[in-house]
Symmetry: C2
Subunit: 622 residues, 2 copies
């Protein structure tokens, strides 16, 4: 048998052994370097240029034609043509590598991401097999790919795809594993979807894995809300009802599949070309999604089934994508603090903050992470769904018809999404209303809506007339009369709505205070407060601060970072570097379990009180 | 964060980094050493003894109680109790390793195999999670296992299994991958099945993966025979009929599942405790089994889809085992020479033969491997199903009622399987009959059955009376009259049966001759001829040699090696060393494609002629 010799690739220094006659392209692929071959390896485009630094590699006519005598004499060769005849050192310029023309995506937060996804497509023109060559179809293909396993599904399509397309196919590879083979050149059709799986809201983003571009977005209410609006009620269902887990999982998967259908349709993309799906959600949502019983999250000491990221196949969940697509479920931190928080950390680079930084993801389950003094502490609080409009009598989601903003101008003036008649009040409107009523003196610091006669004398009459006594003697605030509302019914802000808001804000604020206390920090020490969550972006900072949800720091230090969970999930989809970062960073976050904190109940009770005044100054127009 | 330090394990020298307080058992598991803990890690049984060679590791009370002051002073510790406080070198005696009490299985051929299967079960008593310990269920379990991935199915059962069984579970691990978690201690229930998938016959063996013992055997006719009795007809079906591949795959899988049911029932074993299934068959059988189109095997240059071994999950094929069981399909050599030949090579250690050695696996597809002069050559010949009783007018398989032996003692005397009235003729009976008729001069060297008047005068009358003229003027040999046969019909050996036998023997002999010629060897140079295949074992060597199927060498050099494909498959199931050997050895076998050999047709024509005489001497009673 022939003797193999060593080929060293520069600048990395990685080496492989090769037989005489091996094409440089193949040897490089075995070393993990995928060289681009836009012309299909025909020696005509010149894009696969390499430099022979030492050793022999006799030039072919095609190389002399494509590169000229001089460059060939200098050692330039075409990787698709040059055949190795002995030991050699070969330099591969970055510009010859597949994916060299990387697109840079400016993500909505966390800075740009280089597009280096785990999923890569390689167009490979093998040509027909030769008589007397003992290699199988798979061996010939694998010689042009990085080392790794081969999925049965890819093997099953291989012989047919090769022979239907003149032995030129596109290989879909994930971390070296061959997951699909497609006839002809489909290398431009490569997509992934990033999902943020919230207790109340699901958001999915279809991404082009070549360019990094967002192609379509879908969002909808998590259908699990019909089984209970917070994670505790869903865990309870799993604990008490046989088949409860399966029903919850089925509900979210059905919605996810509808969203996959929707984004593929919107972007006119085949679902069979979706090769990776990334999910980020809190621990309960992620475990239910995976079909892993979250019951142990409902009993002390609140143990998640896993913390490291979970990998599976789309077919394991029955997703409407290529069945062998990779599914990546984010690593989790502990307790209820899950993958959405990890995604938020990588989206905001919280761990790299120089000054103490706080990440607050406001949702039904509120997550808070404090990064300071070389540590990261994370906790979750049951804020409840008030911010998403639930448990508020006239509450609704931030959809057309929702009062999303309330200001005072002699009267209460309201802004309605879609400029239609108001149908209800969404989270931001609720916060605005409470903050303004507090400023007006209509709300006292215990959160009580005062009677007109108790209110300050300066209160404008139009507002005074909005205070309505209910059956129990408690007052409500009329937001819109029957003729002004979309429903023909009056829209009122009730006393108990204020209580819900106090509970939600108090929980968040107590969590923040506990974490600050653990690191001996005061609110004023915070260099930044990052507000995340789809809802967080629409909050008026000064109003959130006025009602005590956020600590009293200047608005300039309070920043909106968008749906950080979604952005983080998208980053992990677009870049293996970001994914690895997420897979690791959770280990350096310490989980703080507030349910066992003796201080929490006291902090919570204190934080329920609305601040006397807001001393941190104006935030300007918001 | 705390600083990790290095722990070195002797005698291997492998090392890992560990945090202060890490239990030795955990650190060892991360280094890949699974230490036995029969007492569940309670420090009472003393079976997990290790020796601290350097570094500090303060003894616990439990260790002093279990080991005594003196041994503790010498550095003896219990891996389940001892906690690391700094860098250390720790020796793990073989006797402390899990699986130390290895069973040795004496396989039917190829020498003993140490039982070191890929599948390992580990009983792990974790105890309940502790308050304030941030680890998930999975992390706590994985710390006690070698590094690797976790299947979703194992993760799904983990939280429930832990909590149903007082946090003591059995982990099923394959090459570090966690594939199942079972409540309580199920570590003694660990099974695998090895299958030989022949064109005509399927054989399955259920094996205990702890003891290495055979527990049950099942065999049946490959139901694909109803679509055609050789591989070419099955390939043709795939090429011409839409859904042909699916029908063939469905047929063999249905039979495999029935055999799985059968062996589990016979051995009173739960199919859920079958964690690995190994398949060996020729390239066509293996590709059809996997659902990989074999069409390219039906056209020049006869390219298999894969040569390296294929790994999948039982659920990919719908096997009646634990759904996540590992399925291993043997590596293939090329053309029609597949995994059964690789299995035969590892079962016989053919590559280690000192003198030239020939492995002949006689089946519908006959495979021949010649090992000599540091090379291995392999080829396949279409022997046809004559040896399995098909295409023979009164042919049948070697089952009760089959004439399996024919001798001459004044007349033709026949031995019938089961001592019942004969119903037909199986392969060995056919060879015996032809050899004896040749010796008697009733058959000439062209294979023609002579008329009574052409036969030698010495031919005993009872035999002469058996020569019957048929409609076309050709003669047949009466084996049993209507009153002697099970069917009430006469049993005859026809002229065309002899032609089928000549074709089968000629193909095998021509293949042998071509391989010998390629290495410039003569039959007499062969140190051994190994006969494999369920059928091969029952052949009378002198008769096979007399009709020219085997070369004229002394019987002492012709050895029966049993169903080598089955044995090889079983070896790969019982030992990862054997599996790795099989995964590699195919690369050193050169495939010889007889269809493109210019010599084959001439050799084949010559080999169809029956030898004038057998010069190689007697084989004794067979």
């Amino acid at each position: 048998m022939s003797h193999e010799f060593r080929i060293v690739f520069e600048p990395s220094g990685r080496s492989v052994f090769a037989l005489p006659g091996t094409v440089v392209l193949e040897a490089a692929a075995r070393a993990g370097f995928i060289i681009q071959t836009p012309c299909g390896g025909n020696g005509t485009c010149g894009k696969c240029l390499v430099n022979v630094r030492s050793g022999k590699c006799p030039p072919t006519d095609a190389e002399i034609r494509a590169l000229g005598v001089e460059r060939v004499a200098e050692g330039c060769r075409l990787a698709c043509q040059a055949r190795l005849t002995g030991p050699a050192t070969i330099e591969i310029p970055d510009s010859s590598l597949f994916g060299a023309q990387q697109q840079i995506l400016t993500a909505d937060s966390g800075g740009p991401v280089a597009v280096v996804p785990r999923v890569r497509k390689h167009y490979i023109a093998l040509g027909p097999p030769k008589m007397g060559e003992p290699l199988s179809d798979l061996e010939r293909l694998r010689r042009r790919l990085p080392e790794g396993a081969t999925r049965l599904a890819a093997l099953r399509t291989l012989p047919g795809a090769l022979r239907r397309s003149g032995f030129a196919v596109t290989a879909v590879e994930v971390d070296g594993e061959l997951i699909a083979v497609e006839a002809g050149d489909t290398s431009s059709q490569c997509y992934g979807v990033a999902f943020d799986i919230g207790s109340t809201t699901l958001v999915g983003t279809l991404v082009n894995l070549i360019t990094g571009a967002d192609l379509a977005l879908a969002s909808r209410v998590n259908p699990q809300t019909s089984f209970g609006d917070d994670v505790v009620s869903r865990i309870q269902l799993c604990r008490t009802e046989p088949g409860g887990l399966a029903r919850l999982q089925g509900a979210v998967l059905e919605a996810v599949n509808k969203m996959l259908d929707e984004v593929a349709r919107k972007a006119d993309v085949s679902r069979q070309n979706i090769y990776e799906v990334v999910f980020a959600g809190n621990t309960t949502m992620q475990q239910i999604l995976c079909g892993v019983d979250p019951s142990a999250l409902g009993e002390i000491p609140f143990i998640p089934a896993f913390r490291n990221a979970v990998e599976m196949r789309a077919s394991d969940l029955g997703l409407h994508t290529y069945p062998e697509a990779c599914v990546h479920v984010f690593a989790q931190i502990g307790g209820f603090v899950g993958g959405d928080t990890v995604a938020g950390i990588i989206a905001t680079r919280l761990d790299e903050a120089v000054e103490p930084a706080l990440l607050v993801d406001i949702g039904t389950n509120g997550e808070i992470v404090l990064a300071a003094k070389g540590r990261m502490l994370a906790t979750s609080v049951a804020a409840g769904p008030a911010f998403e409009g639930a448990r508020i009598v006239n509450g609704m989601r931030a959809a057309p018809g929702a009062i999303e903003k309330v200001i005072v101008n002699g009267d209460l003036k309201m802004n309605v999404i879609g400029n239609v008649k108001p149908a209800g009040l969404c989270g931001t409107g609720l916060i605005d209303a409470a903050a303004e009523l507090l400023r007006l003196g209509v709300l006292d610091t215990t959160g009580r809506i005062l009677a007109p006669e108790e209110a300050p004398a300066s209160l404008p009459d139009p507002i005074k007339r909005r205070l309505i006594r209910g059956h129990g003697g408690e007052f409500s605030v009329l937001l819109a009369g029957p003729s002004e509302s979309a429903t023909g019914q009056p829209l009122l802000l009730y006393q108990r709505d204020i209580r819900e808001l106090q509970l939600a804000c108090g929980a968040i604020r107590a969590g923040i205070n506990i974490l600050l206390g653990m690191l001996n920090l005061k609110p004023g020490d915070l260099g930044s407060v990052l507000l995340a969550g789809a809802f967080g972006n629409f909050i008026r900072r000064s109003n959130a601060r006025r009602i005590g949800m956020l600590p009293a720091i200047p608005c300039s230090r309070i920043r909106f970072v968008g749906n950080a969970a979604s952005f983080g999930a998208k980053r992990a989809l677009l870049s293996r570097v970001e994914k690895d970062y997420a897979d690791r960073v959770f280990l350096s976050v310490e989980h703080v379990d507030l349910s066992i904190s003796p201080d929490f109940q006291m902090e919570f009770a204190a934080a329920m009180m609305l601040p006397e005044a807001d001393e941190a100054g104006d935030c300007g127009a918001e």
